[in-house]
């Protein structure tokens, strides 16, 4: 791997402002009119901000927008009263709003007028697929049940010969009613649900949920618990990125890379097992802290395991990316331009591979990331190679970060360190936005409390919600046979999208 292929990301300001999680009193957010909200959100996004979330809370009387400015750590929240059963869609000028507005119609029956593609997001009714007509045009339908062990989704291709003119992705098969369950469940059940929003992002979603609830209660987490959380989040990133590189090898027929990286992914999961007793870290993150400590024995074992993995990993990743048969399949395949990535509001490694310099860990640091930085990896070419390279760089940097944390955490008996804070009840009439850079990109949990401090609205945005349309665009004018490779290079969550 030649580092020269990756450019240097924007440095972080020396003293980061911390507005994540951001809590505001609902009373300080006056209900404006929808037209004003619409203009403001669109204008902000034209000036470099991003749409984080757009939703209608359960009583369907208002529209809430969350917009982030990454270069000044700003999270802006806006509310507008809904006057009737419809409102002027944002998507007509802001494509990044498309999935949010389809959800609003599907869940609340509130119609975003002027939305270019009002197909339900998760419900399967008779809404037709987009079709291309003409001589020699044919259609390929795949799924929902796929060959192999993978979640269900339906892919509909419009092709001219091998060339993909259009790919439509229909999801919703995994819909479990997560957001409604969050409202009706006990606090103990909520964190268990958060851990299972997307299985491979157990830690990411659990931290986003826990941080949101802690912020509603005005609690400041013990520093040591923050360190354990950050180590777990990076181990989760490592497991998934390593696994993804292996899966990419598999899809171009480079089986040695696939089998070696497949094993090393398992070693990362085993590191989480050492820390938490579960290969996905289930049971580790609790509201108010963490359930398990990194004691000195654990730290030594983790450090030794990671050092061994690191030695193998470096050699293998370099070998994979320098193998001509791999490089020739990765390079130039599934290109997503920076313009498209910006317009769709893509997040995570997929966005960074298309030159979008964004990473919640640097831009909106929370927890330990306020004190310890992970350098952001950005490349420009937007192809499968770029998405592989960003992962390879992030693997290196996460390993360094975990090693640093294992070294820096003070030795001492576990019991002397505080792992959790006393629970404080949520404050009434508040709105909280909690962002986490999961391995796939930005995870957002937005919650609102009512006058009694009960959770009255809970909105979850998995990075997959932003990124699925990016995959469809990566395929446009490409070869249909490149679909598995492109799909792997995105590796999005069905369950996280479907909720």
């Amino acid at each position: 791997m030649t580092p020269a292929r990756a450019s240097v990301a924007r440095p972080r300001p020396s003293i980061p402002a911390t507005e994540n999680p951001k809590v505001v009193r609902l009373g300080s957010l006056p209900l404006g009119d929808v037209e004003g909200l619409r203009r403001d959100v669109i204008d902000r996004c034209k000036e470099g901000a991003r749409l984080v979330a757009l939703f209608v809370p359960p009583r369907a009387t208002e529209l809430v927008a969350v917009v982030a400015r990454d270069d000044c750590a700003d999270i802006a929240i806006q509310r507008a009263a809904l006057a009737g059963p419809s409102y002027p869609a944002l998507s007509s000028e802001l494509p990044a709003a498309q999935a949010f507005e389809r959800e609003i119609l599907e869940v609340h029956g509130v119609r975003p007028e002027g939305h270019p593609w009002l197909k339900p997001l998760r419900r399967h009714d008779a809404h037709p697929f987009f079709q291309v007509d003409g001589p020699g045009i044919h259609e390929v339908a795949v799924g929902p049940v796929h060959a192999g062990i993978i979640e269900p989704g339906h892919f509909r291709f419009q092709c001219a010969g091998e060339k993909v003119l259009h790919l439509e992705i229909q999801l919703g098969y995994q819909h479990r009613g997560v957001e409604r369950l969050m409202l009706s469940s006990s606090p103990a059940r909520r964190i268990a649900i958060a851990e299972a929003i997307a299985g491979d992002t157990t830690i990411g979603h659990a931290i986003a949920h826990a941080a949101a609830v802690e912020a509603l209660g005005a609690g400041e987490l013990p520093l040591h618990a923050q360190a354990v959380r950050a180590v777990a989040l990076e181990l989760e990133r490592l497991a998934n990125h390593v696994g993804d590189l292996g899966a990419l090898c598999n899809d171009v027929g480079y089986l040695p890379g696939a089998s070696w990286l497949g094993r090393l992914r398992g070693e990362m999961l085993n590191a989480l097992l050492v820390l938490s007793g579960n290969r996905f870290g289930r049971g580790l993150i609790r509201v108010g802290g963490v359930r398990f400590d990194l004691d000195s024995g654990q730290k030594r074992e983790l450090a030794a395991r990671l050092a061994e993995v690191e030695r193998d990993l470096d050699a293998i990743v370099e070998l994979v990316l320098d193998t001509p048969s791999v490089a020739s399949r990765f390079e130039g395949t599934g290109v997503v331009s920076r313009e498209i990535a910006e317009a769709l509001g893509l997040v995570g490694p997929v966005a960074r591979a298309s030159g979008c310099d964004r990473d919640v860990r640097r831009d909106h640091p929370a927890g330990l990331y306020r004190f310890a930085q992970v350098p952001v990896a950005v490349t420009e070419s937007g192809d499968v190679m770029a998405r592989a390279l960003v992962r390879a760089l992030e693997i290196k940097r996460s390993l360094e970060f975990v090693h640093d944390q294992l070294r820096e955490q003070p030795e001492g008996p576990a019991r002397s360190r505080q792992l959790a804070l006393e629970p404080t009840p949520a404050r009434p009439d508040r709105l909280v936005v909690s962002l986490v850079e999961g391995w796939r990109g930005e995870i957002a949990h937005v919650a609102m409390t009512d006058a009694d401090g009960a959770i009255a609205a809970y909105q979850i945005v998995d990075p997959s919600l932003h990124n699925w349309l990016g995959l469809a665009m990566a395929l446009r004018d490409g070869e249909i046979s490149d679909f598995p490779l492109c799909n792997k290079s995105f590796n999005l969550s069905y369950a996280g999208h479907d909720l």
């Binding site: 998760r122 929902p144 049940v145 060959a147 192999g148 062990i149 993978i150 979640e151 269900p152 919703g172 098969y173 995994q174 819909h175 479990r176 009613g177 997560v178 409604r180 369950l181 006990s186 103990a188 059940r189 964190i191 268990a192 649900i193 851990e195 299972a196 929003i197 997307a198 299985g199 491979d200 157990t202 040695p256 089998s259 070696w260 497949g262 094993r263 992914r265 398992g266 999961l269 085993n270 097992l273 050492v274 820390l275 938490s276 007793g277 579960n278 290969r279 996905f280 289930r282 049971g283 359930r291 398990f292 193998d312 050699a315 293998i316 070998l319 969550s493 069905y494 369950a495 479907d498």
Partner: protein, 249 residues
């Protein structure tokens, strides 16, 4: 090419010596629980209230079909009446066998009958359907195919079509949107066929039990032959259940 060979040599042989060898899982791994009801103070029920999924009944009993091994109960109990051991052998043949009381040990899965073990014992092809699964159980099933667990050496393989399969592996709480695809897949598998339900969601709905848009696990139309608890189960828990089912352990 040379570097590829060097890398291959460094890999060595990584496959677990299983089931012949002894496996040692890390100390925090949570397997078979041990319950000591004699410690329970009169009318306590702290664990029942702490449990996210309603898996604990009184007198002290855990339904492993609902349990996420989280372990809120063990932490909440003032008398240390609940602890989770390191025994990964949790898969059973009957749903009722998942109910664990004080003093109970693992109820290891029985083998299929002689005719079925003759048919499937050395070659079992499985079709996997994720019906609302979060991806964790699915990932552990994929992991069974890696060089460490190497499921293929037992003649067990996941196949791409139900027509090629001898059995079905279900994960997830069975979302309404996947219900018909799941039933159709089951129907497409030629008899005799076996069904394996993997993970708390497939067994009971797991954290999604009670959702208006889920079935709460494998629907009654599909008879289950092997129940594998966990959230997600460790790959060895799945492997142990499979090999016992086939009469290979």
């Amino acid at each position: 090419m040379k570097s590829a060979l060097v890398a291959r040599l460094r890999q060595g042989h990584r496959t677990l010596d299983y089931p012949a060898g002894k496996v040692e899982l890390p100390s925090r791994f949570r397997g078979m629980p041990a319950l000591d009801a004699s410690r329970c103070p009169e009318g306590c029920g702290v664990c029942t209230r702490a449990c996210p999924t309603g898996a604990i009944g009184q007198p002290l009993r855990i339904d492993l079909g609902k349990c996420l091994f989280c372990p809120a109960c063990a932490g909440a109990c003032p008398e240390q009446a609940i602890s989770f051991g390191r025994d990964h052998r949790l898969a059973v043949r009957e749903r009722a066998d998942l109910s664990v009381g004080a003093g109970d040990g693992p109820r290891l899965a029985r083998a299929l009958d002689l005719e079925a073990t003759r048919l499937f014992g050395r070659s079992l092809k499985l079709r996997q359907v994720s019906a609302g699964g979060c991806g964790a159980c699915e990932a552990e099933l994929v992991a069974l195919g890696n060089v460490v667990f190497d499921l293929g050496r037992f003649g067990v393989q996941f196949v791409a079509s139900p027509r090629h399969a001898d059995g079905l592996v279900v994960t997830g709480p069975v979302s309404q949107n996947m219900r018909s695809a799941l039933l159709e897949t089951f129907d497409a598998i030629p008899a005799p066929r076996i069904v394996i339900a993997v993970g708390a969601c497939a067994l009971s709905g797991g954290p999604f039990a009670g959702s208006a848009v889920c079935e709460g696990g494998v629907p009654p139309e599909i008879p289950v032959d092997l129940f594998v608890p966990g959230c997600p189960p460790h790959p060895l828990t799945v492997l142990d259940g499979l090999l016992r089912l086939l009469g290979r352990i």
